[in-house]
Symmetry: C2
Subunit: 167 residues, 2 copies
DNA sequence: CCTAAACAATTGACAACATCAACCTTTGAT
DNA sequence: ATCAAAGGTTGATGTTGTCAATTGTTTAGG
């Protein structure tokens, strides 16, 4: 959509995290970037297969990928359609049809908000909640790459990711 | 923004079920499983957050997500349509239209195989290869979660993933 | 109070993506 | 030579996505 040339400005410039050691050869910035690049490339490579497997996983529950995502998100409680659209980063008009189909299948329910009658809140039906339970269980199963990791690696990985999410 | 009051409840509470181990009981197996589950859950979350904006990333190059994936896969050399279908885990008939559109845009070329005239090999055009170059560069940019990691975490992550890949 | 702007959801038109079934050509085996 | 199997295309159909326009409901201003 927007220009084809400015894509990397924001991302690349952001880590103003200047880890400034005393001048040792090449800028530590560049070194840190290389490190991040390599770690990211590896992570991407290792996880790629499993991410692409998601459609098939959703299909185990006769859900499309997006529907699975909705079921997953909808567990906490009622969500407005527009909020869901934001979560899915898609147009609101898209959510209408999406929810239509899921409603037909008895997974979710539209419920008018009392405070604001423009808003329709989405809730999982009982069947939807049951499905969600099974889905989450299935999603929680770590793939072989993870399951086969030595305990030390698992601990480190967990801690690293915990820290990362709090940032 | 969202009319409701919830949305952030779950994020902190997810690993709650994992926590119950304090004393003697659980075998190392069970502990390892819980650990793997938690590490996987965290990793899954991070990767999914990244996958969510893959469409937007592809759009920076005026590519659909699938097209971006094709451009990426097609770098190594000529690929038969059926092979591509396998890579994409989709039906062969789907690839026809996909490639049609990309061919119209001058990104790829169908080339008949000499050994087997049923087969059509796909190659990137020069423009396609150039686009791929830029795309790969963009894909290599680590997302904020990675870019903001302290150097120690990055090193550990890199090493863990290196080991994982070799398994 | 009344009107205008803003917002939530829907509708309709349209494109990409996905599947299935049917088809044509080519290949390879019998 | 025949026939089954494989590679690719076509056609029908459904889901997902966008955008533009519409309906109904707040909310703000005059």
């Amino acid at each position: 959509m927007s220009g084809t040339s400015e894509g990397q400005m924001e991302r690349g410039g952001k880590p103003a995290e200047v880890r400034r050691r005393s001048g040792v050869g090449p800028s530590v910035d560049a070194l840190g970037q290389d490190l991040a690049h390599e770690a990211w490339a590896l992570l991407f490579e290792v996880m790629h297969a499993h991410m692409r497997n998601f459609p098939a996983l959703a299909a185990e529950f006769e859900l499309s990928p997006v529907q699975a995502h909705v079921v997953r998100q909808l567990g906490e409680g009622p969500l407005a359609m527009s909020t869901l659209a934001t979560y899915l980063s898609c147009d609101a008009s898209n959510v209408t049809g999406l929810v239509d189909r899921m409603e037909v299948r008895g997974l979710v329910e539209r419920r008018s908000s009392e405070h604001d009658r423009r808003v329709k809140m989405l809730v999982l039906t009982e069947a939807g909640a049951a499905l969600r339970e099974r889905l989450l269980e299935r999603l929680a199963e770590p793939p072989a790459v993870i399951a086969n990791m030595p305990e030390g690696d698992l601990k480190s990985l967990r801690d690293i990711m915990r820290r990362a999410r709090e940032r």
